[in-house]
């Protein structure tokens, strides 16, 4: 019986290894093929596009498409924000829209699903997540008449050669500014022992964390207090007893507020906070409705950015070929002050800080090469990085 369990475990790990192997090796093959394919399809595609463009509605196709990454459209963060933005524009203007979910999280599967969306009549495909960087790199040449919005990434191939086609609008956020706002606000509000629990160390999460640390440091300098920050990447975007126990141990050790920055990791932090009577900072969207312990959220305006992108497409001013960055300057990031539970940090303080961020008076280090914050020079904040 033991050998049976072992053999099952082995089978599972072998299948997993094979799938992963496919993911990376398969990227090469289609990349090479697509050059021919692109040339072939070009002529056909353009004709098709002409016909579909005129009578897409008559055929009953879906003009707007969203392809999800690993999550679903109701993940309360990334995909949902993008979906809501697209849905809003589509409903206002009576345009058909639909979402597609890939079978598995590989580049091949993403490309296939994007192809499916385009066959279904899509003229604009929204791809939320940095996992779409490679798929979009391939499909931007394959379907030159279809437009793409890529959230949180810029198209590149497997060897990190970046190229953004005229039909692609990559959207990046300055998460570091949102993190900065949150870090600054909580220290100004009197908290001195902070924590940061990220999910995986992907660029967006790292930027949040770096901004958070520097914001806390800046506020600590102004107030002349010392700030301690516990800092960790849990390595997954899931709610686990491990994440809960880590958060609980930080609270137990005196940490007052933890920035739960990684999807469901935040839910484990909230569970620990409810137990310890401590506080949480939410991420991506306003999470105050999920737990009373959430004092504020470091938000990026996902739905606004997608809405703007879709609108630009229909207005004929699609900003393809160049990356659109949403920052404090164009209200792309921020804190939800209406639902925040600050005691001394008020709207006026927030507006003053926001103005400094948008005017570029405050600059934030957001290098994502090293993720341990060891490369930051901090005056009053001490970071203990937890592996």
């Amino acid at each position: 019986m033991k050998s049976k369990i072992l053999s099952v475990a082995l089978c599972v790990s072998m299948v997993a290894a094979m799938l992963m192997g496919c993911g990376s090796s398969a990227e090469q093959a289609p990349a090479a093929e697509t050059e021919n394919a692109a040339a072939e399809t070009e002529s056909v595609e353009t004709e098709e596009a002409k016909t579909t463009a005129s009578d897409a509605n008559a055929e009953g196709g879906y003009e707007l498409a969203l392809v999800t990454d690993l999550g679903t459209i109701d993940d309360k963060s990334f995909n949902q924000g993008a979906w809501e933005g697209m849905e809003k524009y589509a409903k206002e203007n009576n345009i058909s829209y639909k979402y597609y979910q890939p079978q598995e999280g590989t580049t091949d599967s993403y490309i296939e699903t994007i192809g499916l969306a385009i066959e279904g009549g899509a003229k604009l495909v929204v791809c939320p997540g940095f996992l779409f960087e490679e798929p979009v790199f391939t499909v931007q040449d394959q379907y030159p008449d279809v437009h793409f919005i890529l959230l949180d990434g810029e198209p590149h191939d497997a060897d990190y050669n970046y190229k953004t086609g005229e039909n692609v609008m990559p959207i990046l956020f300055q998460e570091d500014q949102a993190g900065y706002l949150a870090g600054y606000a909580v220290v100004k509000d009197g908290y001195t022992k902070l924590g940061f629990m990220g999910g995986m160390a992907v660029p967006a999460v790292i930027r949040y964390g770096y901004g958070f640390v520097q914001g806390a440091d800046a506020a600590a300098q102004e107030m002349g207090v010392d700030v301690e920050i516990m800092y960790n990447y849990t390595g997954a975007f899931a709610a686990t007893p491990e994440a809960q126990a880590m958060a609980a141990s930080w609270y137990q050790n005196g940490t007052e507020v933890i920035f739960g920055c990684g999807g469901a990791v935040g839910n484990s932090v909230m569970a620990a906070a409810e137990e310890a009577g401590a506080k949480v900072i939410g991420v991506d969207v306003d999470q105050s409705s999920e737990s009373d312990t959430v004092i504020t959220s470091a938000m990026k305006q996902l739905s606004v950015s997608v809405y703007e992108g879709v609108k630009a497409f229909y207005d004929g001013s699609f900003p393809g070929g160049a990356t659109s960055v949403f920052t404090a300057e164009n209200d792309g990031v921020g804190l939800p002050m209406e639902t925040s539970k600050f005691e001394t940090f008020g709207q006026a303080d927030y507006d003053a800080l926001y103005a400094k961020l948008s005017s570029g008076e405050i600059t934030i280090e957001n290098g994502t090469e090293d993720s341990t914050t060891a490369d930051l020079t901090l005056a009053k904040a001490a970071v203990s990085f937890v592996e």
Partner: protein
């Protein structure tokens, strides 16, 4: 001292679900049916009971609500495990395959139904079940801090299940027959025991405990249920083997797993452990390395039920 109490309380959050689910697995395997569907059963039990918490959250709270949720979780586990029982016992299917099928089915079903009912797949609940301090008992020095503070009623239910399991397995007619079916079903049959009925009983008990384990797993660690129990069903199988299919040893194994996992997760908040400079990877490896070592030394005289995993064939000699 407060650090010791804290670690102990955290250990319980890890150990109790593992204990309950591993005991469930024990009943199934002792009757001769391998149940690797524990992960799926946990998911289903957690799903229906958390959904109940979600739907009644406005009108109910506290321990009464949790107790009803426990009953629902166990009932769901029993119903779900019947699929496995039917395939493994009546149809004589390969037990690992039917178990795997259930493991794959459960999260898909949970997501599908959650979406139909409420539009999103995360099922939210509000946790009103934590016991700050048990009246009277909580004020006993040391013992009160260890066992009766910052706890859940499920912790005591888990301990109760452990004692009950040991008694049932070793001190009752039912337990003797169950064990006989796992060791040599033909002999048990010859002695007049209905092997099919005993195996059904074993699998259904494992379903009830698995479903309960799912609920116990989710409640302290999150604010919503997202169709996963993070592989704890499989970990419970490791605990079962580590515990050599015996209730007392399973308790030891789950406490050991719970302690090492709690320390691995919580060491960064404990100055003493954090300053020792031991890489976190070491803490995370300990339970698995220990399992390997124990298996190496015990595999020669392993206590696995002899007929476990073999479909019972009445006509076989």
């Amino acid at each position: 001292m407060s650090v010791v109490y804290f670690i102990f309380q955290q250990t319980m959050f890890f150990a109790i679900p593992l204990l309950i689910v591993a005991l469930g697995g024990m009943f199934s395997e002792r009757s001769g049916v391998v149940n690797i569907a524990l992960e799926g059963i946990m998911t289903m039990g957690a799903f229906t009971s958390i959904l109940f918490l979600n739907l009644t959250g406005k009108n109910m709270s506290g321990q009464g609500q949790l107790l009803i949720a426990i009953v629902i979780a166990m009932a769901t586990g029993v119903v779900f495990s019947l699929f496995h029982a039917y395939a493994a016992i009546n149809m004589k299917a390969d037990q690992t395959i039917s178990g795997t099928a259930l493991n794959m089915f459960a999260p898909a079903f949970a997501i599908f139904v959650a979406r139909i009912i409420q539009g999103v797949q995360q099922v939210q609940f509000s946790n009103t079940f934590r016991i700050e301090s048990v009246p009277v008992l909580g004020s006993i020095p040391v013992v009160g801090d260890l066992f009766f503070k910052n706890t859940y009623i499920t912790t005591y239910i888990g301990i109760g299940i452990l004692i009950l399991s040991a008694v049932v397995l070793y001190k009752t007619k039912f337990g003797l027959r169950l064990r006989a079916c796992g060791e040599h079903p033909q002999a048990a049959d010859a002695a007049g025991v209905n092997v099919y009925r005993m195996q059904y009983a074993g699998v259904m008990i494992s379903g009830a405990l698995g479903g309960l384990g799912g609920l116990v797993f989710v409640v302290p660690t999150s604010t919503n249920f997202n169709a996963t129990v993070s592989g704890y069903g499989f970990l419970a199988l490791a605990v079962l083997i580590f515990g050599q299919w015996k209730p007392g040893r399973i308790l030891g194994a789950s406490l050991f797993f719970g302690l090492t996992k709690a320390v691995a997760a919580a060491y960064s908040g404990i100055p003493f452990l954090n300053n020792m400079g031991i890489p976190s990877y070491l803490y995370k490896m300990i339970p698995y390395i220990a399992t390997l070592i124990v298996l190496i030394f015990t595999s020669k005289n392993s206590q696995a039920p002899r007929a476990s995993g073999v479909p019972y064939d009445k006509g076989a000699r």
